[in-house]
Symmetry: C2
């Protein structure tokens, strides 16, 4: 209902009478009034003038589910969104729901996280209303070895959406960091539940700094606002990320990673660089020369030998 | 306490007086009597004769945690066992506990499962007190790509324990079946929770037919009793499986799969056979020639090309 009211008020630029609105929505004037009140409580500025009716003055800078649904161009991703003003971790909530058979494409979004996490138990700093913090439930029919590719697809999609929206050229640091001018703009966290045979579900978590001001950013991090010097509409960017990600994901499922791999290479800040990779037991240094079809990074060592890294951390050397 | 009482009664072949027993256990005669009663209720036949004391006549054919602890030679595996007379699925319970940070080595064991499952959602038939149905929580520090090796280690360990105990030569059908004389004796189910980077936990489920009589076995399956024509002590076999598995697991973590791979090859019923492999999209036919260090099966096709299969089902052809 909230979605419909906002939709009608947006479409109708001026005032819309209570009578017309309640007829269009097929609810009583009394019920309409209650819905308007709850929208006001959510931060929507709706002017109500006797004999004229209602007019939408402004929408709040929030990512309410019903706002996201409006104009979302996807078929699967984000068709069901659970919105929270605050949550300990969208990953934990998404995992619980995935075990309870939440369908593919379900999104858990929070305006802030009190225990947001990154890879390897690191903390993800989630200042309220400033960034984008969400987890997406996927149920791809792929073997476990292909799972790392999903992280790369997410990276490509986020960079594409940022470029569409802000004309900024974000880059991907293998495997899961989003960089802007070599500073950390976002991160992707991928958690997997699998039988050895096949993936049961994957949760993709995204944390992206959007309207963070300088003091809410940790050292070495940046936000879109810092680089563009203006407040951005998080809602439109979020819808675009979901859309781009779905397109790339469906393409990958249908035709394999080869369709997306070239885009990834173009967006990579890692390829061509000298890197040090730390894995469980290994420490490999050399030039990052390529990624393979499973999403592994190929490093050509000084010995001439090329080694594949599938996990762990990569440092870009000077 | 139950563990201690049974231990003392077992060590002391004849009667042990109530007074001596309560002194050794540092409990009152009254408390001792209560423990003896609860042991009787669990099926322990304990004779109580005035002026003589207590004597253990027989132990029930059960896998009670406190019985398993007695004489268990492991350092990690099975040091904490949760025993259930009946459970829907040991896998589900183990997964819940693993999320709640149950330590490595924790075992969930049930005398029967009402919804026991095998790979790909298949049913595992778990007749009560006849077989061994348990799940083990592991927290290996390995990359996701190495996870399939754990299934192979489990297979090797089960075959070794069976050989120790019954002198029967069980074999492994890649990746997860235990065969005896080409009939199915058991199965291994491996479920993984991971970040792309690393494994958070792995649950290894084992179902093994031990004392099943012919009518409780489905077509193509067998039990140790069927092949040896005698009732077997499930307890000793279970302790031995835990011990063998721990040894192989620690060796693998320390030195890699190469230490176990030769044993696996010796026990494999798949290598050297003509096989058909069904994976997500592929269908590969040829001779199973080897496994690699990630646990993948290498199949040499008629074209001469060798392909690797990491997931799916394998059929042995004639």
């Amino acid at each position: 209902m909230e979605e419909k009211i906002i939709g009608l008020l947006k479409k109708h630029q001026g005032y819309l009478s209570g009578e017309e609105l309640s007829q269009l929505l097929k609810v009583s004037r009394q019920a309409l009034w209650k819905h308007i009140q709850s929208l006001k409580e959510l931060g929507f500025d709706i002017a109500a003038v006797p004999h004229l009716g209602y007019r939408l003055v402004s929408v709040p800078d929030r990512l309410y589910d019903f706002q996201v649904y409006q104009g979302l161009k996807t078929k699967i991703f984000g068709k069901k969104i659970l919105y929270f003003d605050s949550l300990s971790s969208t990953m934990d909530m998404a995992t619980q729901l995935a075990f309870k058979k939440a369908p593919e494409g379900t999104v858990i979004l929070a305006e802030t996280q009190t225990k947001g996490r990154g890879r390897m138990g690191r903390i993800w700093h989630s200042p309220k209303y400033k960034g984008l913090y969400f987890s997406l439930i996927l149920r791809p029919k792929i073997s476990l070895g292909k799972a790392p590719v999903i992280t790369l697809l997410a990276g490509v999609s986020i960079c594409e959406a940022i470029k569409d929206f802000t004309a900024q050229e974000a880059q991907i640091k293998w495997p899961n960091d989003i960089l802007l001018r070599n500073k950390k703009l976002g991160g992707i966290l991928t958690e997997i539940k699998a039988e050895v045979d096949e993936v049961n579900f994957i949760i993709i978590g995204v944390g992206l700094n959007i309207n963070n001001d300088k003091k809410s950013l940790i050292y070495g991090a940046t936000s879109l606002r810092q680089e563009k010097d203006e407040e951005l509409n998080r809602l439109t960017l979020f819808q675009n990320i979901l859309y781009r990600f779905e397109v790339n994901y469906l393409l990958f499922q249908k035709k394999g990673f080869s369709t997306v791999i070239e885009k990834w290479r173009q967006l990579s800040s890692t390829l061509g660089k000298r890197v040090k990779a730390y894995s469980h037991k290994e420490h490999i240094e050399g030039e990052a020369v390529n990624i393979d079809s499973d999403g592994g990074l190929l490093i050509r060592c000084d010995s001439g030998l090329t080694q594949k890294v599938t996990a762990g951390d990569v440092m870009h050397c000077r």
